[in-house]
């Protein structure tokens, strides 16, 4: 039947409930979709700025909270610049959720190492909150995060005031490429935080998300440390446009990132051409 068919191109309406600046060019938007919008952590949504266009984002909020969704967006192009101008009370469009998120059932009773860089922390925040929700299921969580400078650290307040104090099974290793006068923490690339990991690697899972070059060297480092490719999960950023495996933009080897990803095990894609570009 033709009538009664869901239209996957149709965005639904979501109200902006709050806008929170994170850094000079990154803001978190709290959205309230007009219908319930459940998602799995790691899945992405297509967000529409009315009349401007849409772009893919992975929600940065916990999948356990149904009535709202947060996305953390860096201002880089036309759509994100328009979004950054928007205020609470205005509305945006949402499609999705699309793709495959993190396979949390495979993470159970594992030691989880999360490696994030820059705005790549956004999806990892959602993952982290999902893990914390069932913390007893996991052995421990080591969260490694690298930002360009102290002022580029995302969710700084949450990390310093909430996350660090949550539970002894979690530890944080934060580093910046370049420190400033007030910075007393580590300086160096995020890969340096992996140097002295006290982890039982055969029982570990690593999750990597960030800019392409950071993902590349973090993955290589994890391999050097003894991780097998199937123990490493990558959240791939491609130009997902339709979200439904048809428009061709996000092709990665034989996969469409929008429907086969965005989360892949490194084992799935390690031989794909153009993986780090």
């Amino acid at each position: 039947m033709t009538t009664g068919l869901m239209n996957p191109y149709q965005p639904i309406k979501a109200e902006i409930k709050g806008v929170f600046p994170e850094t000079s060019n990154i803001k978190t938007f709290v959205l309230r979709p007009r219908v319930l919008f459940p998602f799995e952590t790691g899945q992405f949504v297509e967000l529409t700025v009315p009349g401007v266009g849409e772009a893919p984002f992975t929600p940065s909020s916990s999948p356990e909270i149904e009535e709202k969704m947060e996305v953390t967006v860096m201002k880089v192009g036309v759509m994100t610049s328009a979004l950054h101008e928007m205020k609470p009370g205005e509305w945006v469009g949402l499609r999705g959720p699309f793709g495959r998120g993190y396979p949390l059932t495979d993470f159970v009773r594992k030691e989880i190492v999360i490696v994030g860089g820059g705005v790549g922390l956004a999806p990892l925040r959602s993952l982290f909150l999902a893990l914390v929700h069932r913390l007893e299921d996991y052995e421990r969580i080591v969260f490694c995060y690298g930002a360009r400078s102290p002022s580029d650290i995302l969710y700084k307040n949450a990390i310093l005031n909430e996350w660090l104090k949550l539970d002894p099974r979690m530890s944080f290793r934060i580093t910046v490429d370049k420190g400033d006068d007030g910075w007393k923490g580590n300086v160096g690339l995020v890969t340096t935080t992996l140097d002295d990991l006290d982890i039982n690697i055969p029982n570990s899972i690593a999750v990597v998300c960030g800019p392409p070059v950071m993902m590349k060297f973090s993955t290589f480092k994890l391999i050097d440390l003894g991780y097998r490719p199937e123990q490493i999960y990558l959240s791939m950023e491609k130009n997902m446009s339709c979200g439904i495996g048809k428009c061709g933009h996000c092709q990665l080897g034989k996969y469409y990132v929008c429907k086969d990803g965005p989360v892949f095990s490194y084992d799935q894609i390690k031989d794909a051409r153009e993986i780090w570009d």
Partner: protein, 491 residues
Amino acid sequence: MVSEANVLVIDDEQTVCDSCERILSEKGYAVRTSLDGEEGLKHIEKEPFDLVIVDLRMPGTDGIGVLRRARERRPETVVIVITGYASVASAVEVMKLGAADYLPKPFTPDELSSAAAKSLERRIGPAVVEEEELIGEKLTVLIEPAEFRKMLMELGRYVYIPWRSANGLRYSVAGSAPPGEEVIWGGIRPVDPLKSFFFEPRSRVAVYPSWRPEVLSPADLADLQRVIAGVKRCDLQALNLLDKIFLEGDFIDPVYKAARENTLVVTADCSGPTSSCSCVLMGLDPFCEEGFDLNVSEVSDGLVIEAGSRRGKQAIEAYHAKAWTKEVETFHLEEREERRRQVREAIVQMNGDFLPEEPYEALVQEGSDSPLWEKCAEACVGCAACTQVCPTCHCFFLYDQPERESKVKGRYERIRAWDSCQYAAFARVAGGANPRKSREARFRHRYIHKLVDMKEAHGVYGCTGCGRCIDVCMGRIDMREVIWELSGVEV
């Protein structure tokens, strides 16, 4: 018509029943209400309602139960589901069960009356064609060309037939062609790729804002009682591949589906070839044996018409009754076989040089680091004509613009337009990363996608040998020569 419609509202909240009744009565509907699912169903048993509006969550028999049983007992009844607990999942479920619309509460009076009007309107819209089923036994008849043309004209509102133009065959709306001019059933595939009828260069795929998971507006799907005749094997093969892409998987493309369901596909044997024809290199014959509604083969005594679907069979049977068709004799079929064999042989002869010994996927994969790609990229001007004319290329981009038809401010439409992996920015992300920055990478990508990835994903090559990309290339690049060179032959 609409104003006389009988409406039943079922909701366990008196206030909802009352306000629906008030809103719809004002619009001229005869409205009754019920506070209970079971009681509502009893009303439906007793008398037919044109429209039932039912709440999803109710104690006892809920909205799903009412929807199910109402559709069973009275399939003609239009059902709209309303709910205060809207979710995409429940919307999908009720739509699958045959609801005409899904309306989250709270809704405005306008939203309710517009949903009611639209749903009732949709009921009297074009008949929906049922799923195609392959027919058990084949039905084949003989018909005079002029009579077949008359038959086609009666099969749809828009009939496209192959017409000779300065550039080759074009699909033209039958009425617009000069009278007396003959339809060309032979020849090679028309200039236009068949995809453009189902996946148009530009089409509207959504209008927003809408705060509910929308079903496609009937306005977008109407006027498609089409017949497309003269489709050649290369294009039919491509259409079958596009069917897999747009109609399979978790998400169905509603625009493509509507176009496909409302179109009768009439194929014809190729009498080619031209120099770029290469179906045989892709494992295809220049004639169709399945996947069509009707197939046309020219023989000395007229046209052999074969039905390949229930719709095709029904069409033949209808015209058989009018005594337009004749029995097909064995010698007609033998002539058809002989003609097909000769055309196939001619294409094989012409392409003989190009047949490599290994399957293409192995050649392309193993040759993925070959210096050949760089050489090709020098000849390629990046115009993307190859992908535009390709009958299987289906990449697109989405863009939004103010809606043009309505005068409502703040309404936008989403347009789906052809895109091409040959354009530099195709895979670029907003942050600037671009996996295929060089023309060489983009050029190679097209070959890998068509000859390796699509074969793996769908079991068939993404090239059907139609040869259009060879004809249009400004850099004079011939896909066959590229494959040949990959297999180690100097060109």
